[in-house]
């Protein structure tokens, strides 16, 4: 099972030059990321990642979903060779993160959570520097710069300094600089946090386009909607552990459909009656019904189709509905379904 020219023989120094032949031998693998028992404990004792097992095949659009502080960024930093794992084995593009970090750096693109561009350089200069830093051959650089400026729609402002850009433009420029060397695997750490919906949709388009070209994408996000839109497969991380894995559809099935929230007038007695009616409602065979502060919350596959019928039934039972809302399940709902617990965001913020 020992691959020829195994990266382990390259020694642990980061500056070790590994020959092209060795690179070719060790670099071929149909698994982009293979993780076995990854743990990471910060020096202050915080266990940010506690035993993750996962694999991402080449070409997949993989989503890593979790609230703030769940360990998403720590994990992605281990994959990008910015942090050494405390224990466990991680291979990225066939290379071990500990023994061959430089080989990994040659074969990945990484977009950090905070936009990372040089504000004093123009859009074009930022991309050109990234080309040079990633060793793109001189004769290909100009073409690559033009191509990427087009891809992220910044060709018109190529000569403008990045500090003049809007948040969305900066993010797009940042994304472009992560792609200069046509990496087979790209890490995107919460790429759309803080962007307006228009800028976010645009960025999604680019990511889809890159993925269509065969690039494996590993994306972290706090938003179920984003993962739903983009990803082939998801893992949900909570408190440093993977609590669920599967396609977006599978995860949503765990939630059990869409959520209908109904506000009812008349105190807890009315709410109890409404809940009973909802539980006995024929169209919602699989519904889970809970009482909330203002009324009831019904989660059911058919919530959208038959929501109005329930409202009519409630009115016929002399209950006054003061408001209602049908929405897609959120990350909160997924966590509620998976862990049976409300997401405690404050507690999450405290961790890393």
């Amino acid at each position: 099972m020992s691959p020829p020219g195994s990266a382990d023989t390259a020694g642990s120094s980061e500056d070790d030059g590994v020959s092209e032949a060795e690179t070719a031998a060790a670099g071929g693998s149909a698994t982009a990321i293979a993780v076995d028992g990854l743990e990471l404990v910060y020096s202050d004792g915080t266990a940010a990642v506690r035993g993750i097992e996962m694999g991402v095949p080449e070409g997949e659009f993989f989503g890593f979903l979790g609230p703030n502080g769940a360990g998403k960024t720590t994990t992605i930093k281990v994959f990008a060779t910015l942090l050494s794992p405390t224990s466990g084995a991680v291979r990225v593009n066939g290379f071990d993160v500990r023994s061959a970090p430089r080989e990994i750096r040659k074969s990945i693109g990484y977009m950090a959570q905070e936009t990372s561009i040089d504000p004093e350089l123009t859009a074009e200069e930022n991309i050109r520097f990234a080309c040079e830093a990633h060793g793109v051959p001189r004769e290909e650089r100009s073409e690559r710069v033009t191509e990427l400026l087009d891809l992220v729609d910044l060709a018109d402002v190529a000569g403008k300094r990045a500090e003049e850009f809007s948040g969305g433009m900066k993010k797009r420029l940042d994304a472009a600089t992560a792609l200069v060397h046509r990496p087979p695997l790209v890490f995107l750490d919460e790429p759309t946090t803080g962007l307006d919906p228009k800028a976010r949709n645009r960025l999604w388009d680019y990511f889809r386009r890159i993925n269509d070209l065969g690039t494996t994408i590993f994306l972290t996000t706090q938003y179920l909607e984003e993962a739903d839109q983009l990803c082939d497969r998801l893992a949900v991380i909570l408190d440093g552990e993977i609590v669920a894995e599967g396609s977006p559809a599978e995860l949503k099935r765990e939630v059990g459909g869409e959520v209908l929230e109904v506000e009812v007038e008349g105190g807890s007695g009315a709410r109890q009656r409404a809940a009973t009616i909802a539980r006995e409602f024929d169209a919602f065979a699989d519904a889970s019904v809970t009482e909330t502060d203002e009324g009831i919350s019904v989660t059911a596959e058919a919530a959208r189709q038959h929501g109005t019928d329930l409202l009519v039934t409630l009115r016929d039972a002399d209950l006054t509905v003061t408001g209602f809302n049908i929405r897609a399940p959120t990350l909160d709902d997924v966590f509620l379904a998976i862990t049976g617990d409300e997401l405690d965001t404050d507690e999450m913020e405290a961790g890393r």
Binding site: G28, S29, Y42, R91, G94, E120, G135, R138
Partner: protein, 296 residues
């Protein structure tokens, strides 16, 4: 090293094209050298600020103190004008002021994410910092040359000519390196732009005034003379000053191995090189720790 070969397919399929990388050490140095020079040109404010203060000193000191200080200078060095006496000190001041910006640049890189971004590239990390420092040294050399030209315009005499100019620039660079290292160390420790600037600036004036920069040590109080003996500025200024007037004017180390000017230059250079090595070592240690992937 616990890296079990759990992935059966590793190494089995080598059909995928391997990302080609044209990185070489010299190439990586050059890439970073270019980037930091470009940033310096883009941000003329930094260039101007680190020049303006020394120029103000040069003009004000020669005009305001010239008559008084000239007398003190002449007692020890007959025939040397205060302009000539002051120019090497201003050259060292420029080196000091410009070296501060090195740490500021590093802090900015850490703050805007470029530091981490560079760490994810396959560039050699030593080359990254060599390239950045080379760009700063290059800028310091240009700024010292500007000061020397301005000094000549104001009436300073560089009797050693072009050799002297090159020598003073070289001394200025050697002098700047320990402060470059110090400002980078401050940058990594504080990770904050203001703290780095304030920390480095706080040092600037005591270092300059408690040395042989503006007046001969003989004209200064005893405690200043004692401090000056341990002050790197004294060694830089005395070496540069020996070069501009072609005499041994090293005030704190008495050496007579070579005879003439070199007795003033060599000891100063030796002290500066030793200081560069020590502080450079500390900065390199801090930089490699900051850029390592070890869990902190």
């Amino acid at each position: 090293m616990s890296a079990p070969e759990t992935d059966e397919r590793a190494g089995a399929d080598s059909a995928r094209p391997v990302a080609r990388s044209g990185n070489s050490f010299v190439g990586d140095v050059w890439v970073n050298f270019k980037r930091w020079n470009l940033k310096a040109v883009r941000n003329p404010f930094v260039l101007v600020v680190s020049l303006v203060q020394p120029i103000i000193f040069l003009v004000l000191f020669t005009e305001v103190f010239g008559n008084v200080a000239g007398g003190a200078v002449n007692q020890g060095l007959p025939g040397v004008s205060y302009e000539t006496y002051l120019v090497p000190a201003i050259a060292i001041q420029v080196a000091l002021a410009a070296a501060i910006t090195s740490g500021v640049g590093l802090v900015n890189d850490i703050e805007n994410g470029m530091f981490e971004k560079v760490l994810v590239t396959p560039m050699n990390r030593t080359a990254v910092f060599v390239g950045k420092t080379a760009a700063e040294v290059f800028r310091i050399a240009v700024q010292i040359a500007i000061i020397l030209g301005l000094g000549v315009l104001l009436g300073a005499e560089i009797v050693t000519g072009i050799v002297g100019v090159v020598g003073i620039v070289a001394v200025g660079i050697l002098f700047s390196l320990w402060f470059v290292a110090l400002s980078n160390a401050l940058a990594i420790i504080t990770r904050d732009q203001e703290s780095t600037i304030i920390g480095a600036n706080l040092l600037q004036f005591p270092l300059l005034f408690l040395s042989s920069a503006f007046l001969p040590l003989a004209a200064l109080p005893g405690w200043v003379q004692t401090f000056a003996r341990f002050n790197p500025v004294t060694y830089g200024v005395d070496a540069a000053r020996s070069l501009i007037i072609d005499q041994d004017v090293m005030t704190v180390l008495d050496v007579s191995w070579f005879g003439g000017t070199l007795d003033g230059v060599v000891p100063g250079v030796a002290v500066l090189v030793a200081l560069d090595l020590v502080l450079g070592g500390i900065a390199v240690y801090l930089l490699s720790r900051a850029s390592s992937s070890d869990v902190k």
